[in-house]
Symmetry: D2
Subunit: 336 residues, 4 copies
């Protein structure tokens, strides 16, 4: 951490600041030049509150030079974390997985038909929304507990592990048989939920918030890992920008960047990330080429009721074609 | 709502779509031109799922022409909502209020000193954080329930009603004696929490999310109001942009725009909105001039421990000066 | 400037870097701690290319701690610059000015009617577009040289100095009798144009680019001032964000921030900044309250042809009302 | 185009608007429902000024339903445009090209060494900056005309066609022997320059502005094509978002989206798009997988002077490795 002082600070004020810093067991180095003074702090500054220091009269600015996260930092844990979802289904460390399924769980028939088809196409994990975060209170909010029951029945029938989104701590007990608990973009900074999930031993799929930086995503993962749970899968799903031709801007560069900064597996959701079924395939291919550890894809099954699926869902056939395309690219993907 | 069809659609597909729309009791108007067909929907389309329609093969685009919110819409409720916090303390409909206090509650002494001073300067409501949403799991997370007890003690001592942030439904019972429950920016789309607050009769302070549109803020208010609680105060607190010279970009235009779209009172938080104590006063003045119904300001009391306050807090003296400045502008503010 | 080295760098590489830095006459300070090394540079680093240093293998990051601008920096020129447009019309240093007029110059009659009316309402400078930057090649591109002639005729008739936008160096000679040359948002980083304007002695109105940071705006002003022309007026006119309810997000906090960082006058354009005539008045009032040195407002004159003006233009009456409102706030504005 | 009127408009006002629209030869359809009226316009509305209509008192909103661009629109020109740079070097319509070279031209030796190496690795076009747009007036502004001469000499020596950036119309004559003229991101909306380039018969490389939408990029291409020049290559090079871990956010989804909307070739610049040499390779691979028609890559040659290259440049070896990786992915890329 580097503290830049205002021009020509009073020596007494410098002394006060320095002794305050030394109390925090920091290695303090003072650099003085013509009128200008910089203080360098060496050591673990992850618990030093930059904002506090900024308030001092003599301080012009404070710049962090070390990452504020430790557990999720690849510097301290160079080996890839491999998340073992169920026996035989792993993500990370060279294990690539595709999660596919309907946006919302509607019925057992629907889920079964989709599950069998996506499994045949090569998907390893079944996704399905039971609790749906919807902008409007008048929109369909999901089947809730019943939706989770349908997913579990589909798991029993097909053998596919399931992933579904949790929206509130109070529902945690319902997720006991869910294999991966998803934290949605809107809850990425729901810290109470993250703390609670840190106390479980379940794999957690943590989606990046719509306006969250890479560092904030890692800090939210740090919340979970600080609680003792390192089974975390990060998911890029598009950020909010000025562009309106796509619903979000899928930040593919987050993949290689996150893989450099952290040991956790990183997947991409091109369905939400673009909001446009026609862009799902090329963006899935891009994500794979850039080194993603997996994908999350929305699929619908019923041409008659396609009306009720999101504009971003693929048909079963389109999903099959996508899987064939990524299979060809995967062997040549970045760092494979 | 307007549905734009792809060029030269098959009549059979048009018929299918039209009958599907008519089933939803919509007044359907077909406009045909050279190769191009538009369908206009008149009536209440707030419950029609645009995304569903977009998935139809023959649909090129769907555009909403009516607001998707009803309860919070000024069109249907032209009169200003006045939130009555406690007898004698109102916000909205010409009632201007300033909420002031420390970022985090630290001790009763601290809170009392600040409360007495800001009250003398003209603040009507005491703010203080007990549960603090912090990016880092290693940062101070607030005093929690004890912090709320301190606020209540300060209320008893000074007579000032208090506002404090809730982070999770499970803590709701602790907020019984808190006069205004604050929903922070990160929880603006925590829909389970919003639904629960809709069932209370407490005034709710709803902060705009960091990347939330005006319409999304109104939809979140709609969640609360759909539950039966209309005592909602909206708060602009800065949005996330590419600019890095300020922590957020305080969107002052949200004030007159929200006042036009909704009957709910609108306040501004220039402390979080700028993250810079030197900008709090001019931005508070701007907010008042633009017609805000109130302000929320962070204040600290202790020059020795100023280190531990955020870079955005004012001293007690600076807050007094701010109050004097806004008192001069208030009579000439927009629409007064 | 602070250079953060990668962990455990080789001493030989440090030596190479340090001697390279010393060649540039920089005062180099090395701070070493457990495994970590920081290099602090004291002195004028405005000409050091950060990006170059970042490429060195041993460098992890480089952080600038001094502003990269000198001429426009208030630190080195504490007194407000006062731009003297014509005798009796000044901006900055306590001189407040409103520039008003039509979006596009259409005819002498139109301009004269508007000029007389806005002058009567208190505007000091006449604005009017002759060369119009339009997104579409099929949209009206302005009257060009003829438009400038109309403005000059209106100036002769009314005595009001005029401001108009230049789009290309090749047209500079046409602007000889234009009192203020405007550089539009899209040309804020047209460096060849800025250099050329730096060689003139004309007042320049420099608008902030749609996605330009405060620092980039100041660097563009630095281009002009480095050429010898210090008669620069900065103009905030809205930045591009995810919000779609307004055309741009008018960044009012840019006003007090710029006034702190630079000695140049700062004005605000709420017409382009919001793209919505109903928001022009409250945002003009906000800008004045926050300490702006002036305003730029679009006004149209003809209710029958109002169709041909932008959605953001005020009627003559609405402009008169706006001027009355800001006259009341101005005496109590920030730092007055 | 759809015009939404305010509730219960006066019939007389509707009549005025309708006759005004009919004068513009538009096919006008009025849709009336309970209190609400919509006007649908069928036909070519590319020359109708939406903003003008928005200003009418009775108009609530105007929504465009057809793209405002014609010449660059794939709807009207379904076949891919193939840009023929020199005999044997084409881009688009299945022809993939890589442009590589130094950020700034420094000397003939430098350029020749890089050119020979990148050609051996498979690059088809040599890039090099002679006129450099730099944020700071104190930074190196490029060798100018001398830089172009060096490029031309390198072309003669190696046979590689060259691409270089133009910053101002006045320099156009210097670009006679430059094979592709590049318009940089900051000049994407320099309309005078675009018009002038539309009158040439040179291939133009048009880079997307930092905060430009896909539609604005296409409108800028429309400016060039409206002038008669259809030899346009579009280039995605990163947009400005809140994320600070990368210099820009490279919008890979722009590739498949642009390929759907326009017949022009689309390339990607991962060097500027990320500002980070370590991200260039994975992002180049992602771009290729998503269907890009080419890449533009910065390369430097000299380890000793690597200091003077941007943080985003690859070494010659790293470029060779990148070319090998993309050669493996290219056959399996989207829509190949």
């Amino acid at each position: 951490m580097v503290i830049i002082l205002r021009d020509n600070p009073a020596q007494k004020q410098i002394d006060t600041l320095v002794s305050w810093l030394k109390e925090k067991n920091l290695d303090v180095h003072i650099v003085k030049g013509a009128g200008q003074t910089i203080i360098g702090l060496i050591g673990d500054t992850s618990k030093v509150d930059m904002d506090s220091i900024k308030t001092m009269d003599i301080v012009e600015d404070v710049k962090r030079i070390q990452e504020p996260y430790k557990n999720v930092n690849r510097k301290f844990h160079p080996d890839d974390t491999i998340v073992a979802v169920v026996p035989g289904v792993k993500i990370g460390g060279g294990n690539f997985q595709v999660m596919a399924g309907p946006c919302s769980v509607e019925s057992l028939d629907q889920v079964l038909e989709i599950a069998r088809s996506v499994k045949a196409s090569g998907a390893g994990i079944l996704r399905g929304g039971a609790f749906k975060p919807r902008t409007s209170p008048y929109a369909f909010q999901g089947l809730g507990a019943k939706g989770l029951d349908i997913l579990k029945a589909a798991k029993k029938e097909t053998g596919m592990p399931v992933v579904s989104e949790i929206m509130d701590i109070s529902k945690l007990s319902l997720f006991e048989d869910v294999d991966i608990i998803q934290v949605g973009a809107r809850n990425m900074q729901n810290y109470e939920l993250l703390k609670e999930l840190g106390r479980t031993h379940k794999p957690i799929l943590l989606k990046r918030g719509l306006s969250s930086t890479i560092q904030e995503l890692l800090m939210s993962a740090e919340y979970i890992m600080a609680g003792g749970n390192s089974q975390i899968i990060l998911c890029e799903r598009g950020i909010r920008t000025f562009e309106t031709a796509t619903r979000n801007t899928l930040d593919i560069s987050a993949v290689p960047l996150l893989k450099e900064l952290t040991h956790l597996p990183v997947i991409v959701d091109p369905s939400h990330g673009t909001g446009n079924a026609r862009l799902v395939k090329p963006m899935a291919m891009a994500a794979v080429a850039a080194g993603a550890d997996g994908l999350m894809i929305e699929v619908h099954n019923d041409p008659v009721h396609a009306l009720c699926d999101g504009a971003q869902s693929l048909t079963l056939e389109a999903f099959g074609s996508l899987m064939e395309s990524i299979a060809k690219i995967l062997p040549f993907a970045y760092k494979r």
